[in-house]
């Protein structure tokens, strides 16, 4: 048979590789900056664009979508061509994908510091960018599937299955999470409210970890590990079980992020059960990776690629064991809202994702430049700095999480809370300092890698089009009866459809009943829609990223009720019916500051005013940033009618024609707050942003507090 000659496209891999290094370093720098802000709030520079609440989403988005995203694309473009023995189907689509993705990253880097956000973790990007993501993702998909279809290798290697599952699931997650109603060119409200929004969010958030940070990276592991070790994967059979079990189980586990919240119990239990089951496929994958190196451990000492891979796979194993443990309700009661979660995600992020990205860069770049790595010694230094960095990052955060949680839950013998919230924060400040040292070491390692790669590139010559040859694929008529899966493995489109069905079942079963519940969530009679001023204030709360440090969810624990709703008329722990008008929900996932669910009426207007100007005047030792610009900035009331109309479309029962008179109502309420401030000798114009934010903060939990006492007693 005539052998065909063709060329692999290395240019696109190079572009994604460079973007990985650039955005990786930027994302880590931003991470280090926000880590320092936590113990040294002045380092926010007192500028709106550089406060923790705006930079933290920039850090998470940069690491997830820019660093790991670009690394995955680089690895996929490199491996897919070679596994299919063909060039990418369309160079043009490859480049549209590349530039489209970088445009999205730059757009995110501009909009997030400007405070343009949806207020949903890891889905903060505004609706026009959401649309761009969907378009670019479709282009990537078309190119990938067309490449798979024109392949010269009959069998689809398991790495490609992981790529297919990634594409199909991320598309589904992104579309569902991005259903929103725009009220302006940059602003929108989530279609979902309260409990539903929370469920959709964590179905998305959890599976973004699963299908953006795990499945594509596992695909890369299944390709690059055998390549680097020069031996096939330990058990191909196990890799198939790993794949199907992982994608099927992962999709169900999202609700474990919402244990002890107002989410229905059955959904919480479902999340727990599937999370525990996840250990099996995850560890199957980890062991498969590590066993691939059986008899080749001597190479690990020498080869930087394998060194990074071993630690990456080990961290994958640690994180996927810890995740199910954290989803046990009794463990979650301690870990949730603390730095334990931060430690957990950084074992995954720094260890698994970061180290695997470094490994494939160290593998691909010398190959594509036809040379060897400039310095193994530098790579080894990078490895040790990174590894020690991870430890110095994670250990203090585990300690901080445990210690803070135990302090929250401590009572005196008289039955009083033993510690003020602020004490539990100032106590762990030294651990925050240590964490940033760990992060700085890790970043230093990445900079060393950048230098090493630069020198490697300098000494080699780039092979833009790498020659290869293979026999074309002829239609095979199999004389023997084949197993259905064997057939499936050759049919990428069917593979896509089956993967979609599998992940869609998980999504639907979780989400449908929670939608049914919409009509069944008891609307608490006293819970009313936000006033126009409160709505504007809420949007400022979302804009400033307050949810990155403050929760609005009192869990049904003695200490939380004692701390946040201590009086009989405070409404107790949070109820599902309280959030029916919250588009988006703002329960948060971390308590660097105290819970705000019952903040309304706890402090005076003037306390809130002064506290926002400089938190340390009201709470000495506080680590909250200052928000001086809120005192001067004019509130944009021109958006009020459109916001009211959007809310009305979402089912918030404002009276007809309310949008036309909303601003009049807004001004009246603002004047009342201004009058309150004046009593405490604070002069403020009524049309400043601080007034709207005070209105919102003073509203939090007020409705439930006004619920008649007898009805509240029935809730217990």
């Amino acid at each position: 048979m005539q052998v065909e000659k063709f060329y692999y496209d290395n240019k696109i891999v190079k572009a994604f590789g460079y973007a990985t290094i650039l955005f990786g370093i930027v994302g880590m720098l931003v991470g280090l900056w926000v880590a320092i802000q936590i113990y040294y709030p002045e380092s926010s520079l007192n500028l709106a664009a550089t406060t923790f609440g705006r930079l933290r989403p920039l850090h998470t988005n940069a690491i997830i979508f820019a660093f790991v995203g670009n690394a995955s694309f680089a690895g996929i473009y490199y491996s897919l061509q070679r596994l299919c023995k063909t060039r990418m189907w369309s160079d043009r689509l490859s480049w549209i994908h590349f530039w489209g993705w970088q445009f999205i990253i730059v757009a995110a880097a501009i909009t997030l510091p400007l405070g343009l956000t949806n207020g949903a973790e890891y889905a903060e990007l505004i609706w026009p960018i959401d649309i761009a993501i969907a378009l670019v993702w479709v282009i990537f998909g078309i190119n990938m599937f067309a490449t798979i279809i024109k392949r010269r290798e009959r069998h689809l290697y398991v790495a490609i299955w992981f790529y297919i599952a990634t594409w199909v699931t991320v598309a589904m997650l992104h579309i569902v999470r991005s259903i929103e109603i725009p009220y302006s060119a940059t602003g929108s409200y989530s279609w979902f409210a309260g409990v539903q929004d929370a469920l959709v969010q964590w179905w998305y958030g959890h599976n973004a970890v699963a299908f953006f940070l795990t499945t594509p990276v596992l695909g890369l592991m299944y390709y690059f590990l055998p390549k680097a070790a020069n031996r096939p994967v330990y058990s191909y059979r196990l890799s198939i079980i790993h794949f199907w079990a992982l994608i099927f189980i992962y999709i169900w586990a999202g609700p474990h992020h919402l244990l002890y919240t107002s989410l229905p119990d059955w959904a919480q239990s479902l999340g727990v059960v599937f999370s525990i089951m996840l250990i099996a496929p995850s560890w199957g994958g980890m062991l498969n990776g590590l066993f691939t190196l059986r008899g080749a451990w001597d190479k690990v000492r020498e080869d930087p690629v394998l060194k990074f891979m071993v630690v990456a796979i080990t961290c994958y194993g640690m994180a996927t064991f810890e995740g199910p443990m954290l989803s046990l309700k009794n463990v979650n009661a301690i870990s949730h809202f603390t730095d334990w979660t931060i430690a957990h995600v950084h074992i995954g992020g720094l260890g698994w994702n970061g180290f695997l990205a470094f490994a494939i860069l160290y593998y691909m770049i010398p190959k594509m430049w036809g040379t060897t790595l400039y310095s193994k010694k530098l790579a080894s230094n990078h490895f040790w700095l990174g590894t020690i960095g991870i430890i110095i990052y994670a250990v203090p955060m585990y300690w901080a999480g445990f210690e803070q949680s135990l302090m929250w839950k401590s009572f005196t013998p008289e039955g009083q809370l033993k510690f003020q919230f602020l004490e539990t924060v100032t106590n762990i400040k030294p651990l925050y300092v240590l964490r940033s040292i760990g992060g700085a070491l890790y970043l230093t390692g990445a900079l060393i890698m950048a230098y090493n790669i630069y020198k490697t590139i300098k000494q080699g010559k780039f092979i833009a089009n790498e020659a290869a040859e293979a026999a074309p694929l002829i239609k095979e008529v199999s004389p023997k009866k084949e197993y259905w899966h064997r057939v499936l493995e050759r049919k990428p489109v069917r593979m896509l459809i089956y993967s979609l069905i599998l992940v869609a079942i998980g999504g639907l079963v979780q989400i449908i009943p929670t939608f049914l519940v919409k009509s069944n969530i008891p609307t608490i009679a006293s819970v009313k829609p936000y006033t126009p001023l409160e709505l504007q204030g809420r949007d400022i709360y979302v804009r400033e990223g307050c949810y990155t440090c403050h929760s609005q969810m009192i869990r049904p624990f003695r200490d939380e009720v004692a701390r946040y709703a201590p009086n009989p008329g405070d409404g107790g722990y949070s109820k599902a019916g309280e959030f029916v008008y919250d588009h988006p929900f703002q329960w948060g996932s971390k308590r660097t500051g105290p819970d705000l669910a019952r903040e309304g009426g706890r402090q005076t207007d003037s306390w809130q005013y002064t506290h926002m100007y400089d938190p340390r005047t009201m709470s000495p030792g506080s680590i909250m940033p200052r928000y001086p610009w809120l005192l001067d900035r004019k509130l944009d009331t021109s958006s009020t009618p459109a916001k009211i109309r959007a809310m009305k479309k979402l089912g918030v029962p404002y009276p007809d024609g309310f949008d036309k008179v909303a601003n009049r109502d807004l001004m009246k309420q603002a004047q009342r707050i201004v009058a309150n401030l004046k009593k405490d000798k604070i002069e403020s114009p009524p049309n400043t942003e601080i007034i709207a934010l005070i209105a919102y903060l003073q509203r939090l939990g007020r409705d439930i507090k006004s619920e008649p006492q007898q009805q509240l007693a029935e809730n217990k």
Binding site: S79, R82, L83, E153, H155, Y157, V158, A159, Y222, Y223, P226, K227, N230, R231, P232, V233, S235, Y236, R237, S239, I240, I241, W244, A245, F248, I249, W252, P264, D265, W266, S269, L270, V273, F274, M277, Y483, W484, H485, R486, E489, L502, I505, G506, V509, Q510, I512, P513, L516, V517, N520, I521, P522, I524, A525, K575, A576, G577, Q711, E714, N715
Partner: protein
């Protein structure tokens, strides 16, 4: 007003929990049956694909 047990008002909500377990159980058994029936040689061939290029 009761805030608890409101899910019970959704018609046969327990079906969803049961369905998820049955779905997974069936799927997993079928997959295992296939994986262990398949000829090991086929897997060996497939596992060498990354090394052939």
């Amino acid at each position: 007003m009761k805030f608890i047990h409101y899910m019970e008002k959704v018609n046969s909500v327990d079906v969803y929990g049961t369905m998820s377990l049955v779905c997974f159980g069936l799927f997993f058994i079928i997959m295992l049956a296939w994986v262990f029936k398949t000829n090991k040689k086929q897997f060996e061939e497939a596992s060498r694909i990354p090394l052939d290029n």
